[in-house]
């Protein structure tokens, strides 16, 4: 463009502004609608999922009483006299979750403290992507890792251990969750301002004291949220437990025995030949609804914790 005198640019702008139907104006009008529709897709999907779950679950409870579902302790949907007591599946799920958290929380938090308080910039640049790779490994790979590596190892250590057991998938689910806990906790700890660390160091605290007594408490809401989200992941984890946990819905808490989790049950039925409209078929929706409620509560809890206990500095 030629250099124009001062008045002409102003004129040009004004002229352009007068054009009502310029591309710019049309985009300005259309884009909000497009953006809204895109956002709406996920809302509609969520509503659709909830509706399906609720309707099919209702069919289930037309045949099986709520009292039996929550009151009985046996889950034998395939028997000639089927029993639908959810507890064995809930216990199996919680068992896996507890084992996973026992692995993931200590290791995840220790890694987070190391990354945030000790690691040099260089070490952090190498380690964080590695953590993220671990987070991106498909769960089916973790499942075979559990069955073909961890279980044989455990069998050597614990004679008489069943090939399918809760311990091995529990440990591996824990390993899978480590990056999540480490990364969210590390974010929370790194966002504690430097001036607060300086205040603690200037009082003669060691680095470990600063990390444990100042930074961790200051980042507690993020840390707890990471743990709750990790639990939610563990509860919903399917592949690892299906492959390495067995399919034995017993209400035992012995981690050395086979288990069946809620998710593993759904897989079992979904892959089996339960006919459409049978009680068995509807039962997976009942279990699915309960699972959905579990993870929803966990996620809401994590959300609430971060908001309620967010630290101000």
């Amino acid at each position: 463009m030629n250099s124009s005198s001062k008045g002409s640019v102003r004129e040009l702008i004004q002229q352009n502004r007068k054009q009502k139907f310029s591309m710019k104006n049309i985009m300005e009008r259309i884009m909000p609608i497009v953006l809204f529709l895109c956002a709406f897709v996920s809302v509609v999907t969520t509503i659709g999922i909830i509706l399906t779950l609720v309707i099919e679950t209702e069919h289930f409870f037309e045949v099986v009483s709520i009292k039996e579902f929550f009151g009985s302790t046996s889950w034998y949907p395939l028997n000639s006299q089927p029993e639908y007591g959810i507890w064995p599946l809930v216990v199996g799920t919680l068992e896996i979750t507890v084992i996973a958290m026992l692995v993931a929380v200590p290791i995840g938090l220790t890694s987070a403290i190391y990354l945030s308080e000790y690691a040099s910039e260089r070490a952090r640049r190498v380690l964080k992507p590695i953590l993220e790779v671990l987070a991106g490994v498909p769960t089916i790979v973790f499942g075979f890792f559990a069955l073909t590596f961890v279980t044989p190892l455990l069998v050597k250590l614990i004679p008489g251990l069943a090939i399918y057991n809760a311990l091995s998938p529990g440990i591996v689910v824990g390993i899978m969750i480590i990056p999540m806990i480490a990364s969210i906790s590390e974010d929370a700890m790194s966002s504690v301002p430097k001036k607060i660390r300086d205040g603690a160091l200037a009082l003669g605290s060691t680095r470990l004291e600063v990390a444990l007594k100042v930074v961790v408490p200051a980042a507690l809401s993020g840390i707890i949220a990471s743990i709750v989200l990790g639990m939610s992941r563990a509860i919903g984890e399917t592949m690892i437990v299906t492959i390495a946990g067995g399919s034995n819905p017993t209400a035992t808490v012995n981690p050395l025995e086979p288990v069946q989790t809620m998710t593993a049950y759904i897989v079992q039925v979904a892959l089996g030949d339960a006919g459409y409209g049978t009680v068995e078929y509807y039962s997976i929706y009942a279990v699915g609804t309960l699972l959905f409620v579990f993870t929803l509560v966990m996620n809401l809890l994590a959300n609430w914790i971060t908001r309620r206990f967010r630290e101000e500095y």
Binding site: A202, L203, G204, S205, K213, P217, Y313
Partner: protein, 275 residues
């Protein structure tokens, strides 16, 4: 910390004997040919200062002249910057703080620091004060209660917070937060308090309160205060050091510096001709 320390101590050490009761005018810090670099940036050049006990020493000078760097060297907080190198001797009560055996935690326990930005911990008021004593092993609840009250009184903030000790410190105003940080510092009973522009983030009334506090604390502590504000230096300090481009241009009685400076550059600075 990869700070390289060159110590050329020998003759200085032993000159003052440690742990002896010291008379009011003894040195608390003797800085001898201190040089400091951030990478290649020579930030402190041949600094020599003798800081007396139970005095208020003000550090003045234009922005970027090395005031913060100097004061952070006195408790070795400056070493948190990885590229820092120092050279020279700083004797604190007769011991070179750069000695390998000198634990930095020990130094910082007896040399407290108040920062430019108030930096309370995101904890309750009580826990802020109790933090230091707890870290250093005080667990008894009764003793802690006493320390908390005494420190808050010492920092002239007790009356304002005594009914809300369990509330988060970030609910306090900026001026109150700063006095809380001073109280936090008093709780471990240091000998020296370093203050880096402690009032620059505060309103005039809070500033006045902190200045009064400094006057008050002088009885029991040696205070080194960096300030941007020359009236403040004149009001609170006994001695003043004028820094320029990393060098000490002049160090003398405060009233002399402000009435009859011996260096032309000091005169220019205090009369507001630059900085």
């Amino acid at each position: 910390m990869d700070t390289k320390l060159t110590t050329k101590t020998a003759e200085k050490e032993g000159a003052t004997i440690m742990n002896q009761p010291v008379a009011a005018q003894d040195s608390v810090y003797r800085v001898d040919n201190l040089n400091l670099w951030y990478g290649d940036d020579h930030a402190l050049k041949d600094v020599n200062l003798d800081i007396k006990q139970n005095e208020v020493t003000a550090i003045i000078g234009p922005s970027g002249c090395g005031k913060s760097t100097f004061i952070k060297t006195l408790n070795r907080m400056v070493e948190l910057v990885p590229i820092v190198r120092t050279n020279g001797v700083i004797e604190y009560n007769g011991r070179n703080i750069f000695d390998k055996e000198y634990e930095v935690e020990e130094l910082r326990t007896s040399v407290g620091m108040v920062f430019q930005q108030p930096n309370p911990f995101p904890k309750s008021i009580y826990d802020n004060i109790a933090y230091g004593p707890r870290v250093h092993g005080v667990k008894n609840k009764k003793i802690l209660d006493e320390i908390v009250e005494r420190s808050l009184r010492g920092a002239a903030i007790w009356d304002e917070v005594k009914d809300r000790l369990n509330e988060n410190a970030y609910g306090l105003s900026g001026g109150q937060q700063q006095r809380l940080c001073i109280a936090r510092c008093l709780a471990i009973e240091p000998d020296v308090i370093l203050m880096d522009e402690p009032t620059s983030a505060l309103d005039p009334i809070s500033t006045l309160k902190v200045e009064e506090l400094v006057q008050d604390l002088k009885k029991d502590y040696s205070i080194i205060i960096v300030t941007h504000n020359m009236q403040q230096a004149a009001r609170v300090s006994d001695k003043t050091a004028f820094f320029l481009n990393g060098e000490v241009v002049e160090f003398d009685q405060t009233d002399r510096i402000f009435s009859n400076p011996s260096d032309k550059r000091t005169e220019d600075y205090i009369s507001g001709r630059f900085g």
